[in-house]
C-alpha cells in the first residue's frame, strides 16, 4: 500500500486547521501513514536541530542518513519533535534530500509540530522539491535569490558571487556594495570542495551554499557544506610528491601539538603552513578565510570538519565525539563589515 506522502504537500499544512477531538482509533490517514513508515527506516532529527548549536547530535543524524544512503535504504525523517531549527539544519535536509533523490532512493518524513519551524522548511522550498523527480546534475538551484536561496554545484562558479553580493548588500546597506572578502570566502570554499573533497579526483562532490536574508537585523547568513572527506582526512591522503605529505610528522617535530582541534587552530592561523612548507601561507585556502575574518570583511565564522568544531570568531576550537565526513562553514555579513562602493 502506498502511503500518504506528507512531503508532497506543497502548501501550508496548518492553514485552516480545525482542532478535532482525538479519535479512539487511528484515522484512515494515520493508518496509511503508519503503513508507509513500515517500509522506511525512520530516523529522528535532533530536538535541537542545528549544526551550529548542536553539532554532536546533528552529526549522528547525518551519519545515520549516510548509512541508509550507502545501502540504498528508504528513509523517513521524523521531524515532529524538533523544537529548534535553524538554516544550517535546513541546508543539511535539503542537501541530503537531493542526494537521496538523485540516486532514486525514497526520502520521506513529517512536519515539525511547531508551526513556525514547519513554515521555515516550507519557505526553503524543501517540500516543493521533495515531490519532484531529481536527477544527478552538476548544479541545483532552490529558493529565491533575496530570501532563502540554496545553490549546489560540483564546480567553481565565480559568477555566482555577483548576484549573491548584489542581493546581500541590498539587504544590509540598501544598495549595492562591493564586499571583496565575501567573494574570497566563496571562492576558497568552492575551490576547496572541488579540489579536496574527494581523494580520487577533482569535482566529484557537490558543495551546497545556502543564503538567508534577515532584513530586520540587516544581516545575511551564509551556510556552506560539502560531504567530502573533510579537512583532516584530505590532509592524511596527500600523495608523496605533495608539499603536505608527511605534514603531521613535520609539525610534531617542531611544535607541540595535541588533538585535531589544536592542529586546526594552527592551520587556520597559517602556522601549520609555515612549519610544514617553510613558506608563509599568504592567505592560501582556509587560512585565507580566517584572514578575511581578521580584516572584518565577514563576521561569526564557524567551521566544522571531521571531529573539530571551530568558532573562529570567538577563538574556540573544540574536539567533537562524533566524526563528520565533510566540511561545514557558516559566516555572516552585516553592517559592521568592511565594504566599498559598487565596482560597476
Amino acid at each position: 500500500m502506498r502511503g500518504k506522502n506528507l512531503f508532497k504537500q506543497d502548501f501550508n499544512p496548518y492553514k485552516n486547521k480545525i482542532k478535532k477531538p482525538k479519535p479512539r482509533y487511528r484515522t484512515k490517514e494515520e493508518i496509511v501513514d503508519d503503513e508507509s513508515k513500515k517500509r522506511y527506516t525512520i530516523i529522528a532529527a535532533p530536538d535541537n536541530f542545528s549544526f551550529v548549536e548542536n553539532p554532536e547530535e546533528t552529526i549522528v543524524f547525518i551519519n545515520n542518513l549516510e548509512k541508509c544512503y550507502l545501502t540504498r535504504e528508504r528513509v523517513y525523517v521524523n521531524l515532529q519533535n524538533v523544537t529548534a531549527l535553524d538554516y544550517s539544519a535546513v541546508t543539511v535536509l535539503l542537501s541530503v534530500m537531493f542526494s537521496f533523490k538523485a540516486r532514486n532512493i525514497k526520502f520521506n518524513g513529517n512536519f515539525p509540530k511547531n508551526e513556525n519551524l514547519a513554515q521555515m522548511l516550507i519557505d526553503s522550498e524543501f517540500f516543493k522539491f521533495l515531490s519532484r523527480q531529481i536527477t544527478d546534475k552538476l548544479e541545483y538551484t532552490v529558493g529565491k535569490a533575496n530570501q532563502i536561496f540554496t545553490r549546489a554545484n560540483k564546480e567553481v562558479n565565480s559568477e555566482l558571487g555577483l548576484p549573491v553580493m548584489i542581493e546581500a548588500s541590498r539587504t544590509i546597506w540598501g544598495k549595492e556594495r562591493t564586499c571583496k572578502g565575501l567573494q574570497r570566502t566563496l571562492l576558497e570554499l568552492m575551490q576547496n570542495t572541488n579540489n579536496h573533497a574527494s581523494i580520487n579526483q577533482k569535482g566529484e562532490k557537490h558543495w551546497w551554499l545556502s543564503i538567508n536574508h534577515d532584513r530586520t537585523h540587516k544581516k545575511v547568513t551564509f551556510i556552506f557544506v560539502d560531504y567530502g572527506v573533510g579537512i583532516f582526512e584530505s590532509l592524511k591522503n596527500k600523495p608523496t610528491d605533495n608539499k603536505w605529505y608527511g605534514w603531521f610528522e613535520k609539525l610534531t617535530d617542531k611544535l607541540f601539538v595535541g588533538e585535531n582541534n589544536d592542529i586546526f587552530k594552527l592551520l587556520l592561523e597559517g602556522e601549520m603552513h609555515l612549519t610544514v612548507t617553510g613558506q608563509h601561507f599568504r592567505g592560501k585556502g582556509l587560512p585565507g578565510i580566517k584572514q578575511v575574518l581578521d580584516r572584518n570583511q565577514i563576521s561569526n565564522l564557524k567551521i566544522i570538519s571531521n571531529n573539530v568544531s571551530a568558532d573562529v570568531a570567538d577563538n574556540k576550537y573544540l574536539r567533537l565525539k562524533n566524526q563528520f565526513s565533510g566540511t561545514f562553514v557558516t559566516w555572516e555579513l552585516n553592517e559592521s563589515n568592511v565594504n566599498a562602493p559598487w565596482i560597476m
Binding site: 565565480s158 572541488n194 569535482g203 565596482i343
Partner: protein, 107 residues
C-alpha cells in the same frame, strides 16, 4: 616601446579559481595567464618596457587564481625576470601586492 597595462576587469569582473578543469564559469587564472597576461608579457620581454597589472574593478580574488597567474608565469619565465618586468596597481586591496610578490618569489 611604452609601458603596457593589463586590466584584470577586461578579462572578468569575477576572476575565480586556478585551473581550466575546475568549472565552465570559473574564470580561471590559467585562462587569464595564457590568454591575457602572457601575450602582453611576451611583447615587452625583449624591450625596456614594463607591464603593469591593474587588479582593481573586480568583486574580489581567490588566492589560487593569483598564485596560478603570477606564480605560474614565474615558473615559466623565472622569478627574477617576472619580478623585474611586472608592476601592480591594487588600490582597492593593497595587501594583494605583497601576496603576489610572495607567490612569484616562491614559485
Amino acid at each position: 616601446m611604452d609601458n603596457v597595462t593589463v586590466l584584470v576587469k577586461d578579462f572578468s569582473i569575477t576572476p575565480g579559481s586556478r585551473e581550466l578543469d575546475e568549472g565552465k564559469r570559473a574564470h580561471t587564472g590559467e585562462d587569464f595567464r595564457d590568454n591575457f597576461l602572457e601575450p602582453a608579457f611576451k611583447n615587452i620581454l625583449e624591450t625596456n618596457s614594463k607591464l603593469t597589472v591593474n587588479l582593481d574593478g573586480t568583486i574580489g580574488y581567490g588566492t589560487s587564481w593569483l598564485e596560478e597567474v603570477f606564480g605560474g608565469l614565474a615558473r615559466r619565465y623565472g622569478n627574477d625576470i617576472v619580478l623585474s618586468k611586472l608592476n601592480f596597481i591594487s588600490e582597492e586591496e593593497p595587501y594583494l601586492i605583497d601576496d603576489i610578490l610572495d607567490y612569484i618569489k616562491n614559485a
